[in-house]
Symmetry: C2
Subunit: 263 residues, 2 copies
């Protein structure tokens, strides 16, 4: 165990926000010890929200995948970036061009025939120049740009892989437009999860593997945060000059033990 | 005629660098008056170099396309961004992963089996996530990154289209690496063209439609520059607070008349 800064979290939190990929699992494989650790958290009666910026996969599929790995999670406990983007679309009455993975189209719906905005997710292997160019032209015409996420990379079984943030940044570069991010690291994404639980930011904690988009973003939203050394964690993340987690744990299991030890 | 700043070019230049797309033609169509204007330049005995950041198309195909439109240009007069990138690759003995359009592969050669660098061109409709991810992983391993160009957009018959700069910027965003640009706006690209002609920068002139990558870049390389209001020119480009062309012409024909009128 090693703390990279004096923890500001001195009492056991009232709710736990848990990043999924890189914390509970990498690809299709559960991270060692994560399953019993989650059971210990549940046994302690702590309300949980699972957060994910994954934008290739519908909620139902994510829950099914987690159950297959042994994690019993309800769909209502899962907050996804596509869902957050849809809330923005409905609030504003938008009719977007969706740049999304076909698997997500069933959850999100089809693009408008005459789109008035661009909503971008991770197209994965369905990345397609013609659709990116259609989005570019809408942005050049001044239409709003919502990105489900802007993650730089994610961890797969065989290494770090390019995430959709590259294509958000690319469209921003060429069009001069600036995307509004719906998922992490937007403060609204974390606050929306806490509102659902009725817990104040300072009384919650986040556990994540991404120094910037989990830990830094949660702390910027007023939520204490634990960094785990699994998933996309890279050496040096635990010694960043500005982003200082409340605690750095080897993995999810150690993070849970540390939390439950707080009085 | 309207000059956006007092011209620093007071004598007829000794050589003319001419951007192709948006100056002589848009897509497959010659810009009105460009063909006789080019003939007037040739008749005046001025040595010419045609510059292009197009990285989808081999030199031979570009020359054939221009000839079909009526522009008689020799391959030796054409300086392309892919060619500039190949010079860097040879100078440094690199064995790159090439992210390029299949049409260009015949000119450039295949990717190395075990690449030690990334060289990126415009894949156009062949944009492919798997290859971008392979490049991303090389960049994360610290390998050199050469981009043939980093243009934001280009003009097609039906409007402005997303150019490869978006994908260069995207890979830079996700990997933290910085691409070295081989084509415009690199000063070396312009100087290499002038070296071939034995003309000093201040004695030449560039004619281009891109305020930043033609006019701004040429002037930064010490070369006077004329902006034309065709191609990717957008209203306001002729009133930029920092980038001031030596002259702003309606089109290539007016640019040529203005040049030939200089004593």
């Amino acid at each position: 165990m090693s703390a990279s800064a004096a923890p500001s979290l001195v009492h056991r939190p009232k709710a736990v926000l848990i990043d999924l990929a890189g914390v509970l699992h990498v690809g299709e494989g559960a991270i060692e010890g994560a399953f019993p650790a989650l059971a210990r958290l549940r046994a302690a009666g702590l309300p949980l929200r699972f957060l994910t910026n994954t934008t290739r996969t519908p909620r139902r599929t994510i829950v099914a995948k987690l159950r297959k790995m042994g994690f019993a999670i309800d769909e209502g406990e899962l907050q996804t970036a596509p869902h957050a983007a849809q809330l923005l679309v409905r609030e504003r009455g938008l009719h977007p061009l969706y740049l999304i993975h076909p698997d997500l189209a069933a959850e999100i719906g089809p693009s408008a025939a005459e789109p008035d905005s661009v909503v971008m997710g991770d197209m994965g292997p369905h990345l397609d120049y013609a659709r990116l160019n259609a989005a570019f032209r809408l942005l050049m015409a001044g239409k709003p740009f919502i990105a489900m996420a802007k993650n730089r990379y994610f961890m797969e079984e065989d290494g770090l892989s390019l995430d959709m943030g590259a294509f958000v940044a690319g469209l921003e570069f060429s069009s001069g437009a600036k995307a509004e991010i719906a998922g992490k690291p937007a403060a609204g994404f974390f606050h929306s999860a806490l509102n659902g639980l009725g817990v104040a930011a300072a009384d919650a904690v986040l556990i994540g593997d991404d120094l910037h988009d989990d830990v830094g973003a949660a702390r910027a939203a007023g939520i204490p945060a634990i960094l785990v050394r699994t998933g996309k964690f890279r050496p040096g993340d635990d010694a960043h000059p500005e982003i200082r987690p409340d605690f750095v744990a080897e993995d999810f299991a150690e993070a849970v033990d540390w939390l439950l030890d707080l009085g």
